[in-house]
Symmetry: C7
Subunit: 72 residues, 7 copies
């Protein structure tokens, strides 16, 4: 792996966990991202303490709100 | 989909939900956006816990306040 | 409408509401703005919960403090 | 008026109020500013709830701390 | 050593500690980083007060959330 | 005076007060600064409510922490 | 001294104190830095109220977390 975003390229079309700075957590299928980490998920779910609190379908998350992204 | 903003291009003229970092939520018809996620909604409504608290007509939301945008 | 700032061009010389990230709200006649949303209002009023708390004449609001701008 | 900073050009050498994001307020004679809103005031006074709490002479205020600038 | 990121080049493929601004701490094997300090760890563990609270496998941490990185 | 930083050029080698966003205040002799307001003071003192709480010799203050700089 | 970072060049390979915005303080030997103030210390110690709370060896501190750097 050369660059951090290579990790996201390998995770494309797979389910990832996106944890935000405000402690929210989203799970979804990674469809797109850019250098700011603006990220599109499909089949997205918002979770709190491991439980699904909202189903959102497709979402575009603003990159500067993200703490980390991890393959599910 | 290649880039995150492609998701917004497909949502143009459709109703979207915009959730802000400060927990406010707007619903409205997506009319315009740019790379900062500055976003114009029409028929905009401000919501708290699912209820409409204010009708705003057209609004321009500053992109750096946005947490996510999702088709309604 | 192509770009978000087109919405402000149409609102020029008309009364707008500017809501800030810190929950302050200004009402005034939109006279100028730039790509950072630095915004000049005339006949500006500061409001809290719908009531006028201060009359300010002309103000230049720093763009990065703004949450949204909406035609009044 | 074409650009927001034109408003400051007209206010040069006149007394202005500078309100900061942290709720501090300065009054002083506007001597210089730049595109970041870095601002030099002379005969500057720090105010809280309308009362002068400190006389500061000349101050250079960092632009990113500013909420708005208004002719006094 | 000439530049700060040289320290990360030497730590590549070794275990590092990443402490975040929000007081979270991750331990993992450093696989990639960029000039923003966006950082990929493998075999990543989230820790609180020295104890492992979550095993995460691979994570991409957004650089602007990082306080420091240190070889374990 | 044309630009805000001209005020700092005139204050070079003189004692200035640097007030930070976090309410700390430093007094010291201004030796260097740049466009970000990164600032070097010598004979620096940290003050709280007018009293010296720490003597620091030379310090480099990161510009983005600064609220204002004023000749002492 | 011409530029603020000249002060750091003179402090290279000497012990410095790095105080962070979150009130943490590190002491260590300055090995590298860049224009963002990303800073590498060796023999680094984390301190609270003057006492060593953790020995860290080498650390890379993200520049935007730094309040000031001062020769020890």
């Amino acid at each position: 792996m050369e660059k951090p975003l290579d990790a996201l390229n390998k995770a494309k079309n797979k389910r990832v966990i996106v944890e935000l700075k405000n402690k929210k957590e989203f799970s979804g299928v990674l469809k797109a991202f850019d250098i700011h980490l603006n990220t599109v998920l499909e089949e997205a779910e918002e979770r709190e303490e491991g439980k699904v609190v909202r189903k959102l379908g497709q979402i575009l998350i603003r990159g500067d709100t993200i703490l980390f992204i991890s393959p599910a």
